[in-house]
């Protein structure tokens, strides 16, 4: 039963798989993860600047 189900999923996957979609997905993954890091780097800089004006080490 389970092996039939897995076979079914794999067969459907083979039918539906599209190389162009994979390429698009990889581009989105690189841009997306890169974008998250870019935003976080900017936030890090801003947070550091905010801290450097007024924070004192305890």
């Amino acid at each position: 039963m389970l092996s039939k189900l897995i076979d079914n999923i794999l067969f459907n996957a083979l039918l539906a798989f599209n190389m162009n979609t994979l390429k698009d997905g990889l581009v989105i993954a690189v841009l997306g993860l890169g974008g998250v890091f870019l935003v976080i780097i900017l936030l890090y800089i801003i947070t550091k600047i905010l801290g450097s004006f007024t924070n004192k080490k305890e």
Binding site: T21, G25, I28, A29, I40, L43, G51, N55
Partner: protein, 389 residues
Amino acid sequence: MSDLLDLLPEVFKGVTTFFTDWKPIVMILIGIVLIVLAIKKEYEPNLLLPIGFGAILVNIPFSNAWEFQTVVNGVETVEPGFLQILYNVGIKTELFPILIFIAIGAMIDFKPLLKNPFYLFFGAAAQFGIFATMIVAIIIGYPLNEAATIGILGTADGPTSIFVSNELAPRLLGPITVAAYSYMALVPVIQPPVIKLLTTKKERKIRMEYKEYNVSRVAEISFPIIITLIAGLLAPSSVALIGSLMFGNLLRVCDVTEKLSKAAQNELSNLVTLVLGITIGGTMRGEEFLNLDTLAIMGLGLLAFIFDTAGGVIFAKILNLFRKEKINPCIGAAGISAFPMSSRVVHKLVREEDPDNFVLMQSVSANVSGQIGSVVAGSLLLALVPLFM
């Protein structure tokens, strides 16, 4: 008498129909399991209980909770039931996730992050699971929008998952929501084995000095405003999500809107969670929910959490190659959005190896940054995916 007998099947059509289709029965059983998990195991009870009950309501044959038939001037029409009305008002319009974000913002204390901004990076690294899972979903054969929606489970963030799913692939909303909240409840089960697999005993014992800085009121108040501006300018599609999160936080830190902050943390949060849960349960109708998609989404959701954890831990290990002061790589796993569960899990795991090693503050900082990272990642997907379709 014979008229009465003819009427009986019509009167009891719910009972007679119930046993003719297995799907509603299975869904009602799933609803009961969710309720049991909520009550007995206390797994996200505020969500799983309403979701479970909503699933029961809509799977009773001829239930009027989702929709019902009515005859107007001899013409049969289908009218929305109370759950469909809630769905149209709160989920289709994305109002409920936004209101939840205001409540979450009012609950989060960003001070640990402001004291140690370095931990922001873990909130970015642990989003790896989103994109890795998206690629796996594409390989399995999902179209781009649905693959991205499945990947979003890697945010470990319920409202973001609902928001993105509703925009990119509304048909997957039910299973996505159930997977998101189920796996969030299972963080203590999923994360430790992955962390242990990727770290040595010696690495898990690494002690970290915690440098604490005072955070000025100006910095605390500026933080939500500046984050909204920067994230909004870089990714305009993030304004609704990050803006509502930061608005809630501004209510909390400004000290002059205490009543609003408390209302957001309690009344707003409780009320929206209640209607959100039961409405999501309403989307779990057997004929739409019980299919291969749901099974695949549950599997891929688990994969997303594993990839997230691995992404954070491996990122910390890479940083250690260049740093003099080593980081305990377990901290990287706390960069997911499941707050505060993930930070507690990491702290507990580290203390199992060395009971005198305290990494709670570092984990909380990484965990809070995961909230920001997940919203940014979700917003970027919303901006990027339509460009490729």
